[in-house]
């Protein structure tokens, strides 16, 4: 019993120590004093990876993503303007109390990371995707992706980086743009994706996953 008492007291002491605010490694999403870097490490990294290179294609790679685009997306999650299922299931809650400074800090953190490809794809599909990316599909009224996303897929401000993005994630988002109005701030993509077939999407996504980027 004596040992148990000592153990319990030590346990309660540890819990007591834990009750103090520890901004350095906090996972508190409602405290404006927690730095963006801490939130990125303690919370975001669980799905997106410590360096923004997520392992699971359920979660987009954020490494080297355009800072302006990341700020816009976090604000759209926070305001519920972006409502694709994975967006509201995961990100509405994560973003609901983030301050403007934290959002800017998170965008800066991930945009500064080095992106690496998730892995190779089907060479035939990749070649087909490269054609669409570079030249579009004129007969279907689809412009080249490179026009806005850059010739290396590096993105530009509000236009996201697509190089090294998970192909499954790209397909999912192209489908959201084409078939829903769940991302109203990306309405331009609705017209662009209008006539893309599933095969077209798979091809361009395969290319983006392994394409060279600056």
């Amino acid at each position: 019993m004596k040992t148990a008492t000592i153990t319990l007291v030590l346990g309660l002491a540890a819990i007591g120590a834990g009750c103090t605010t520890t901004l350095e490694r906090s996972r508190n999403l409602a405290d404006p004093h927690v730095s963006a870097k801490t939130l990125a490490q303690q919370v975001c990294s669980n799905c997106h990876g410590i360096d923004g290179n997520s392992v699971s294609p359920n979660f987009p790679k954020l490494a080297a993503q355009q800072e302006e685009y990341l700020v816009a997306q976090l604000n759209q999650f926070k305001s519920h303007r972006r409502e694709d299922p994975e967006g509201f299931e995961y990100m509405w809650g994560i973003s609901r109390r983030l301050t403007d400074d934290q959002i800017k800090g998170l965008a800066a953190y991930f945009s500064a990371q080095k992106s690496v490809t998730p892995g190779p794809g089907n060479p035939k599909l990749i070649a087909e995707g490269k054609k669409i990316f570079d030249s579009g599909l004129p007969a279907q009224g689809v412009p080249p992706c490179s026009t806005c996303h850059g010739d290396q897929g590096q993105g530009n401000g509000q236009f996201p980086r697509v190089a090294y993005q998970h192909s499954d994630y790209v397909i999912k988002q192209l489908t959201v743009f084409q078939r829903t109005n769940e991302r109203p701030d990306g309405v331009a993509m609705k017209a662009i994706t209008h006539s893309l077939s599933d095969q077209n999407m798979a091809a361009v996504a395969a290319y983006m996953q392994q394409m060279p980027a600056k």
Partner: protein
Amino acid sequence: MQKDTRRLPRTQGACAPTGVAAAILALRTVGKLFAGRLITATVAAAALGPLLLVLAPQQAQALPAFARQTGQNCVACHAGGQFPELTPYGRMFKLTGYTIGERSLPLSMMGVLTANKAKVSDPAVGKPNDGSLIFNTGSVFIAGKISDRVGGFAQITYNNYDSQNPDTGAWAGHAGSDNLDIRYADHLIDANRDLVYGFTLHNNPGMQDVFNSTPAWGYGVVPGSTGAGNGATPMLDGGLGQQVAGIGAYAYWNKMLYAELTGYRTGNGMFSFMTQGNGTQNFIKGTNPYVRLALTKEWGPHNAMIGLTHLDVRQYTDQTDFSGPTDHYRDNSIDAQYQYLLDPYTVTATVTRIHETIDYGTIGQPADSVNSMRAKASFIYQAKYGASLSHFNMTNSMGLESKGWTPEVFWTPVQYVRLGMQYTSFNKNEGVVDPRDPTLMLNGKDNNTLFFYVWGAY
């Protein structure tokens, strides 16, 4: 969620905590309202599903206390929304002490309506096995983030069919403490290191684990389900549930290696709040060790784990004599799980093998061995439509063996509610007396059971 009652007879214990008395009264009323037969259950389900769809918000920021705390949906932490099985993120949420998010109202409720129809039902048992739709259990959870590094959950469960009066056959309900886990956790992570470490205080060996192949979370988890029938299960499979207090330390390194060391002692004295209302206290000697090692790997939409567990327990042979001999239980387990998580598909497969040896304190009593083999595979589409198949094979030297298969289909119309139907087909289920002729034992197939449930939480 329900404790194993094999090792000790269940008797009326302490009164329900007054804080949940009103909830229990309400739950009892619901139970009476839903009394009926299996056909009624199916009809009720057909009516209930659309009703729930109308009543429940489609894009709510989720269910119980944890979902309110993170603002995320159930699918973030539970694979395909199939509570209680966890996703990699759900595992990290638990390992980091349930502290992601913000403090919010730390209360949740859970209720389970069930209907069990055994092929040969025992009239003396009545509603729990004759196909009647009954209110089975209701729980109140106190759960959530306490501070930046401390969080936990405590569950109090009311079992509407807890014990049966041997004279009148009437069932009596009862409330008691259920699973409890309070943690302190820290996460040291930057570009060069990733180490989660923490301490846990809990009351059921294995419930602190984060993998779906542990008995506490992976098999027969729907309250009232048939499980492994009458087969003897090892200590590691709920044998000490809500009977002990465990204090453990754990670490998870580089999302690759999980290690834990926990010591269990009798949950009495100052720890009795963790075991109240669960019948006669089970007394074990001193501190009893539990060691857990697991290797994990995540690649693309896949993740896998293989693990080992050892539990060593000395239980007093005479539960009233603490200077006497002990029965020595040694459990060794190997388990593995695989998950494929890529919207809209969720696939989970688990396998768990436990071997237990029991050396009795009574001189001359031969040792026993207990083996448990369980496996389960599930597939879920759009976090709504699911099917699973599980297998159990309990072998032992006690003449209490069981073997069978349980296919299941389930539907999660909204993230708070799951409706399911299971059918357990027994190849063997020893030790069950034939209610038609008490001098005979039922054969395995006579125990085949159809099980329907509605499982909701808020």
